[in-house]
Amino acid sequence: MKGMSLIVKTISDFVVGFIIIFGAYIVLYGHLTPGGGFAGGVIIASAFILLMLAHGKDVAFSKLGERAAHILDSAGALAFLLIGWVGVVGGYFFMNVFGRGEQFRLLSSGMILPGNIAIAFKVASSLFLVFSALAVFRRRSFRSMIEGELR
């Protein structure tokens, strides 16, 4: 059986959804409460890392493929840059051209909310990729090390 024991698997399956929802909350309310794109992105990534620890990398990759993570990684950064470009309409790079809305409402403070979402995608996917690179690379290099010694 790959991964950890049945207890760990069951519990982690149960909490993963909550972790992702909590992360999304931190991202979406980043402009109103403490938190933001980076913190929320880290929390979302930790849900996938938990899946990888409990079930092994195959299950985690079936939820979020390596290729999809790479695309999200670049897309998040590009989306943030695009938000900067939208500001050029107002005369300056990163100018807040969206309406500021009513204070303490979810849809307020203009470009900070879309900016946070873009950052969250970037952070979540790249942190997941960093972790999976460590998980995959360690095994590969260990094997090559042993083979090198045998030779």
């Binding site: 695309i71 990684d73 590009l78 840059l81 300056y92 790079f93």
Partner: protein, 512 residues
């Protein structure tokens, strides 16, 4: 629209588009990197002679918001960085086909360019740090791009030492923020000049910050005794990356940052306590680099390692010009003399950027053709690779200061300034070490280019046009900067010198 933010936005956009498109389109790296660096190079050349501007990100005025500043000094560095980046990308198109994972290479390359352009245009200490890290982290990965054992070791060594430097710089920025209450460089300069000038009014915390800035940036610029990473990192990287690292990275992250922070934020002025100490430390770092870099280069038999040590020595000359200029300003000497010294330093900075990237690219071409960088296994290259040999010769003559090439004039200006500032011993050392430079480049010519064909050169063929055309362009620039200085050189260098010397004007430009 003002083009200043584009110098960061274009390479950053390309850096993130390349890996995404690379999944479906294998040539995305080559195409996008060539396109965006070409655009940047044209933009940089077109910005010659433009008026100095401060761009307010998001429309927020400077002490609060982030300012991007483009003045004479910025334009000088932007030209060097972007033109050399374009030529290195053209060289990479053919040279890098031997490596795998090319979209990653071009993506990291563009990130490095974005970081360097960001450092150069940033008007804010913290943004300077962030872009410095972007460029540094990209270059750590690029040094280790070959993933052989010694490349990984060099990359790791560079990473550890570079991180130490980054921590020092961050700590210094924090200290400046604690003392002045601002991160904007112009605002900090105004605070320091109003609150901490006059006899004995210098804050000890600011002296500590200055020391840590000097240490951090000197490590990025590889000045002796902070040079240990460079002789490993520069030879291990793929040739276009070596050219970028030695040509522009150590200058934009090290020398430029020293210029901006010390000349503008701290200011060299008789009223500011500690500025003489700072200027003296700059001169000592410079002299140590000239001597140690030069002497260690003589004994090298690995061609790229020789070039790496030579970079340490030549950056010492750049720093000597700037340091002597700073000392003259700090002791209240004639401003025209300080201007001469600084002009010499900046002139040598640009010259070294061009001829050292030419030398590293040609070393890449030689390695591509012969499969070795060991000088003992080469000889008579001029018969097998006439074009590469000719440009290597030209760059070697230029860097060792043979008239009428560009390196001669810049070293001459620095030496005249050093003598006029009455540092006779230092001038003597600099002259002797200029001959040592000539000596080890004569060694390069004797071992590699002239003589009878032997060793690995026997089966060598001239590299394809895609590789030698960038070399020829760089060679033309090397000759052109020397001969045509009165025609166009002054339009780039003199605004840079004036920008560097007038701290008050910088403050006025940014804060209005």
């Amino acid at each position: 629209m003002n083009p200043v933010p584009l110098f960061v936005a274009i390479p950053l956009g390309a850096a993130f588009l390349i890996p995404m498109l690379g999944i479906w389109w294998k040539k995305s790296g080559e195409a996008l990197a060539a396109l965006s660096t070409a655009t940047l190079a044209v933009m940089a050349i077109l910005s010659i002679g433009s008026t100095a501007v401060a761009y307010h990100m998001g429309g927020w005025a400077p002490p609060v918001g982030i300012a991007l500043v483009s003045d004479g000094l910025t334009v000088l560095l932007l030209i060097a960085v972007n033109v050399i980046a374009f030529l290195c990308i053209i060289f990479s198109l053919k040279y890098m086909t031997a490596y795998s994972g090319l979209p990653k290479y071009y993506s990291l390359f563009m990130l490095m360019v974005a970081g360097m352009n960001g450092v150069v245009v940033s008007g804010d200490l913290f943004n300077l740090y962030v872009f410095l890290e972007v460029a540094s982290i990209a270059s750590y990965a690029l040094v280790a791009f070959g993933t052989e054992a010694d490349e990984l070791e060099a990359g790791f060594k560079y990473l550890v030492l570079g991180s130490v430097a980054s921590v020092m710089i961050l700590f210094a920025i924090g200290t400046v923020y604690a003392v002045t209450g601002t991160l904007n460089m112009a605002d900090a300069a105004r605070e320091i000049s109003t609150r901490f000038s006059g006899a004995g009014a210098m804050n000890p915390a600011l002296l500590l910050a200055a020391a840590m800035f000097l240490m951090g940036f000197s490590l990025k610029a590889a000045l002796v005794p902070f040079h240990a990473w460079l002789p490993d990192a520069h030879p291990s990287a793929p040739a276009p990356i070596s050219a970028m690292l030695s040509g522009v990275v150590i200058k934009s992250l090290g020398i430029y940052a020293i210029c901006r922070v010390f000349f503008h934020v701290f200011g060299f002025d008789p009223n500011v306590m500690g500025s003489v100490i700072l200027a003296n430390s700059m001169i000592w770092l410079a002299v140590l680099s000239i001597v140690v870099g030069g002497l260690l280069a003589i004994g090298q038999w690995d061609y790229k390692r020789l070039l790496a040590y030579s970079s340490i020595g030549q950056v010492g000359y750049v720093m000597l010009g700037l340091g002597v200029g700073a000392r003259v300003l700090a002791t209240g000497g004639p401003r025209s003399l300080a201007a001469l010294a600084i002009l010499g330093g900046l002139f040598h900075l640009v010259n070294h950027a061009f001829f050292k990237s030419l030398l590293f690219l040609s070393s890449g071409a030689i390695q591509h053709a012969t499969g070795t960088r060991d000088m003992k296994q080469m000889g008579g290259l001029r018969e097998k690779m006439p074009i590469t040999s000719a440009v290597t010769n030209l760059a070697a003559l230029s860097i060792s200061g043979v008239p009428p090439f560009s390196g001669f004039w810049s070293k001459l200006i620095i030496l005249i300034a050093v003598v006029k500032a009455e540092h006779y011993v230092i001038a003597g050392i600099a002259i002797v070490m200029a001959f040592v430079t000539l000596a080890y480049y004569v060694k390069v010519q004797r071992e590699i280019i002239f003589g009878s064909v032997r060793g690995a050169v026997e089966r060598a063929k001239e590299v394809p046009a895609a590789m030698y055309v960038p070399l020829i362009i760089l060679a033309i620039v090397c000759v052109g900067f020397g001969l045509l200085y009165p025609v166009f050189g002054y339009r780039i260098l003199e605004p840079a010198r004036d920008a560097l010397m007038n701290s008050a004007e910088y403050v006025k430009l940014v804060l209005g």
